[in-house]
C-alpha cells in the first residue's frame, strides 16, 4: 500500500473568532490531481496554505508523504506553491526566478542551468530566459510561476487559483496545459478554485468546501451527477430543487411535493436516512420542454406555464411554473424546437428520472 501524498487529520484553523477550516479529514494519493472547490471564504485557500506551511493549524495533523509536518516551516517542506498573484520576483530575470530555489539548495551551476532549461522546455517557454517578469504577457508569467515551482521537483505542487487573472480563452488553454504537465511530471497537484467547470475538467477528484468543512469528495462525475447536499447541487449548477416526502408506488419511489407533484426518484441503492422532508436536485439542462401539441416522450412529465425565457447564446433558459407554485429552470439548445416556445405558453416538461438526484440532509 502506497503512503498517501498528503493526509489531513481533523485539521482546524481559526482566524480571530471565525473558524476558517473545521475538522477537515482527507487523503490525497500520489500523482493525483486534486481540487478544492468552493465559494470564496469557504476555507479552501487556508487549507492549501496549511499544507504549504504558510499557516499553522490550531489542531489536527498534516502529513506529507506519511510524515507529520505541522511544525516544519515552508522552506523545509517538499512542497511548492503557485500563488494566485503569481509572486514572480520582479527584480530577477526569468532564469534567476527559476534558479532561486536551486541556488538555495546549493546545486552546481551546470545542474541549475540544465534544470532551468529543461523546465522552461516543459512549460513551452523557450527564449525568454533573460527577460524580467514585467516584460512577459499574463500567460507567459503564468508558465514562469509554474516552472519556478516545478524546477524544484516537489513532492506536492499547490496551486491557488493560478488562472483567475487570465482571460477565458487563455484560461482554457492553460487548463489543458496544466493537465498535460501534470501527466508528464506525475507530481501530486492540489488545486484551489471557485470555478466548477475548471475543477471538473481538470481534476481526478474534487473536494467541495463550505464554511470550513468538506461537504463532498468524489470524482468530477460523482459530484456533478450525484451531489449529496443542496449546496453541492446548487454549486454544480443543479439549480432546481424539489422538496417533499418519499412515497412508494408499485415498487417505485416517488417524491410528493407540497404542491402535489409526484416526481419519480432515481432507483439508486442509497436509501435516505430519514423519512421526513427530502430534497431532489435536477439540472436545468436535463429537462426537456415541449409544446402542448408535441408528445413528451418520458413518463415523468408535467404541465406548466412559461414565466420567462432568455436567450443565452448557445442555449435558451426557460422558467416554468408547475402546479401554480413550483418554479423550474430549464436549459435547452437554441437550435431546437423549444425555440418556438414563447412566454405565457402552456407547455409540458419532462426528464429521465435517473438524471435527478436525491440529496442527503445537510
Amino acid at each position: 500500500m502506497n503512503t498517501p501524498s498528503v493526509e489531513l487529520r481533523d485539521v482546524t484553523k481559526h482566524f480571530a473568532t471565525a473558524i476558517a477550516v473545521n475538522r477537515v479529514n482527507l487523503t490525497i494519493a500520489r500523482g493525483e490531481f486534486f481540487s478544492f472547490l468552493g465559494p470564496s471564504g469557504c476555507g479552501k485557500t487556508t487549507t492549501l496554505r496549511m499544507i504549504g506551511g504558510l499557516e499553522t493549524p490550531d489542531s489536527g495533523d498534516i502529513l506529507i508523504n506519511g510524515e507529520r509536518v505541522n511544525e516544519i516551516p515552508p522552506y523545509e517542506r517538499n512542497v511548492s506553491t503557485v500563488f494566485q498573484r503569481l509572486a514572480l520576483f520582479p527584480h530577477l530575470t526569468i532564469t534567476e526566478n527559476l534558479a532561486f530555489g536551486l541556488k538555495i539548495q546549493h546545486q552546481a551551476y551546470d545542474v541549475i542551468q540544465e534544470k532551468v532549461a529543461a523546465t522552461l522546455e516543459l512549460v513551452h517557454l523557450p527564449g525568454l530566459q533573460d527577460r524580467y517578469p514585467d516584460q512577459l504577457s499574463g500567460g507567459q508569467q503564468q508558465r514562469v510561476a509554474l516552472a519556478r515551482s516545478l524546477v524544484l521537483e516537489p513532492e506536492v505542487l499547490l496551486l491557488d487559483e493560478p488562472l483567475s487573472a487570465l482571460d477565458r480563452k487563455l484560461r482554457k488553454e492553460m487548463q489543458v496545459e496544466l493537465r498535460r504537465i501534470q501527466r508528464e511530471v506525475s507530481i501530486t497537484f492540489i488545486y484551489v478554485t471557485h470555478d466548477q467547470k475548471e475543477a471538473i475538467s481538470m481534476s481526478d477528484r474534487i473536494a467541495i468546501m463550505k464554511e470550513g468543512k468538506i461537504v463532498q469528495v468524489g470524482s468530477p462525475r460523482e459530484i456533478f451527477e450525484r451531489p449529496r447536499t443542496a449546496f453541492v447541487a446548487d454549486f454544480m449548477g443543479a439549480s432546481n430543487l424539489f422538496s417533499g416526502q418519499l412515497i412508494e408506488r408499485n415498487g417505485k419511489r416517488y417524491l410528493k411535493t407540497q404542491s402535489g407533484l409526484v416526481i419519480q426518484v432515481p432507483n439508486s441503492d442509497e436509501s435516505p436516512h430519514s423519512q421526513d422532508q427530502q430534497l431532489l436536485a435536477l439540472r436545468p439542462e436535463a429537462i426537456g420542454i415541449f409544446r402542448k401539441d408535441q408528445n413528451p416522450p418520458t413518463e415523468n412529465s408535467f404541465a406548466g406555464r412559461v414565466l420567462d425565457r432568455a436567450y443565452l447564446g448557445e442555449m435558451l433558459e426557460f422558467e416554468v411554473l408547475l402546479n401554480g407554485t413550483e418554479r423550474v429552470r430549464i436549459h435547452s439548445h437554441s437550435r431546437s424546437p423549444a425555440d418556438e416556445i414563447l412566454v405565457d405558453e402552456e407547455v409540458l416538461i419532462g426528464w429521465d428520472a435517473n438524471s435527478a438526484s436525491l440529496l442527503r440532509e445537510e
Binding site: P74, T81, P90, Y132
Partner: protein, 279 residues
Amino acid sequence: MSVVRSLGRASLPGLLGLVYLFIYAPLFILMIFSFNTAGNLAWWQGFSLEWYEKLLSYDQLWKSLRISLMVTGTAVILSTVIGTLTAYALYRWRFWGKRLFEGMLYLPMYIPEVVLGISLLVFFIFLGMPRGILTMILAHVAFTIPLVVLVVLARMQRIDWTLEEAAMDLGADELTTLRRVTLPLLFPGIMAAAFLAFPWSFNDFVITYFVTSPGNAPLPVLTYNLILGAKRSGAMGMINALGTLMTVAALLLPLVAVLLLRVRRFSLPGLHLLRKKRA
C-alpha cells in the same frame, strides 16, 4: 467666456515665466556676481575668478566641508537604517498605540526648526554632552528619520508581500528571504530616502547652529559666519562664490543619481525597478 479662456491661455506661459523668474533670479544674480571683481552687489566691475581663488585657498572651507560630509554621511546612513527598520515595523506589524506612534513620528516635521534646535540644545546640556560632531550627528539623525520612514513606507505599500511567502515556499529561510527578496525590492525606496535625506541634512542651518560648537562649523554655519563678517567688511564676493558652488553641487547630486541609475546592468539588485520600464 472664450475671450477669458484665450486670454488665460496666452498669459499662461508668461505667468509660468514669472514664477520661474521669481525662483531662479536671485540665484542667478548671486552666481553672476560671484565673478564680479568688486566684492559687493552694487555694480559690475569686471569678470574675475578672484573670489573663487580666495575661497578655495581658505582653510576653514575645507575643514567645514569635511565636517559637513562627516556629519551628513554618518547621519544619513544611520537614519536610513533606523528609518527603514521603523517603516518595516510600522507596515508589517500591528501593535498597541501604532497610530499614535506613527503620528508622533511625523510631528517634528511640523515643529519650527528653531524650537527643535533649542530643545535639542537643552537636551544635550541636560545630558552633559559637549556640543560638537557627535551632537550634530544625533540631531541630524533625529530630524531626517521621519523623512526616511515616509519614503520607505510609500515604497512598501507598493510591494506585493506574497513575494516573501513565495521565497520561503521556494526554500529560503527568513534571513535569506530578507537578503534576496525583501531588501532588493525595498532598495529603490531606501535609495530614494537616502537621496532626499542627504540634502536635508547637508543644508540644514537652524538646528545645526544650536548643537554645534564654534570650532566645528559645517558649511551652512560657515556661510553664516562669513555673512556676519562681510556685514562688517562689505566683502560679499567669497559668499557669492560659496553660494554658487553649493548650488551647483546641489544640482549635481540628483543628476549623478539619475546617471547612476541609467547605467545599464549597474550591478545592484533591484535597480532595474528604478529605471524606466522598457516596453
